[in-house]
Symmetry: C2
Subunit: 166 residues, 2 copies
DNA sequence: TTCCTAACGCAAAAGGGTTTGCTTTACGGA
DNA sequence: TCCGTAAAGCAAACCCTTTTGCGTTAGGAA
């Protein structure tokens, strides 16, 4: 059932936007009963939040070429590719609405990945800078200006980050 | 009526989060009839989007000291101050959910302001860089990690932007 | 002042979302 | 195999949201 609900939600969120999706809609598309969804998740925002979280597998292998810049380039490209898929972008937007005072899972993973890169490379660059100047611009574009997200976005951001004076 | 609805929505969005606000709630708090809201805005997402837009007055005077860096610093500080107010942050998050294929008004203004700075200063820096490395990090923090938004955030970002090799 | 129009209040009705009690199914351990 | 438990289906009831028709009010133009 989880799988059916997940893909139903993904489809609907892409088709209509998360504000216009309802529990009965999801239930019908998933071939389950609305009451099953209510019992399991309580309400729609909770459901959306949970589904939006289980994306971009935290256990996937990270780039490890030995060169920080190379790795960041691959990693950023991965990020862009992921959110270029409309479903993922829509879920991110939905997650943004429910984010708030505590860190949302969506991005905790991104932060910890950034920390790992930095530690592995020996702090030539700060993890905050990776978040501010690579992750943030990408996420910002995904949410507010998806059409500015291109194949060159990732490379451009990494290059700018590395062109700063040391 | 617009004013009453606006402040009612702002209060409720701050109290409950935008997902849990309904039209009748807003109507009651604003002292108006729900049907008036429906006739004027059509539905809740539209209302939220419009209210979230009319913030950070587009007609306000922009910093103009003659020095680009100085101006950007003041401008970024304004942005941070604005979104440090919980109501404004909540409205931004709500707006994020409804943003999508066309540019949301929330940030069109920011973009045009950036363009103005660049033109006035004679293109020593690109407007895209201002968006990517100042606006985006701020907005990202507002939405996903509000507690990382401090008094030094704006200054730090501007400094980093200017420390790049020309 | 009078008329016209647009916006709002009011109330009833329609529609859809949510809750709830009960039944049925599926799975795992005696 | 035979329970016992947890999850899901089903259907009815409940409640809130949304729509709609109509009366009222406010503001502007003749």
């Amino acid at each position: 059932m989880l799988a059916a609900v997940r893909s139903a939600l993904e489809e609907l969120v892409k088709e209509k936007g998360s504000e216009y999706v309802t529990v009965p809609m999801i239930a019908e598309r998933a071939g389950v009963n609305p009451s099953s969804i209510y019992r399991r998740w309580g309400d729609l925002p909770t459901l959306i939040n949970e589904i939006a979280t289980y994306r971009l597998d935290p256990a996937r292998p990270l780039p490890d070429s030995g060169d920080l810049r190379q790795d960041l380039l691959a990693w950023a490209g991965e990020l862009v590719t992921h959110y270029s898929i409309p479903v993922n972008a829509a879920l991110l937007r939905a997650g943004a609405a429910t984010a708030g005072e505590q860190e949302s899972d969506c991005l905790r993973n991104r932060r910890s990945e950034a920390v790992m890169f930095v530690e592995r490379a020996g702090a030539v660059i700060g993890s905050d800078e990776i978040i501010d100047h690579i992750v943030a611009p990408v996420i910002y574009r995904v949410i507010f200006a998806p059409w500015t997200l291109t194949g060159e976005t990732a490379a451009g951001l990494v290059e700018q980050l590395f062109s700063r004076t040391p």
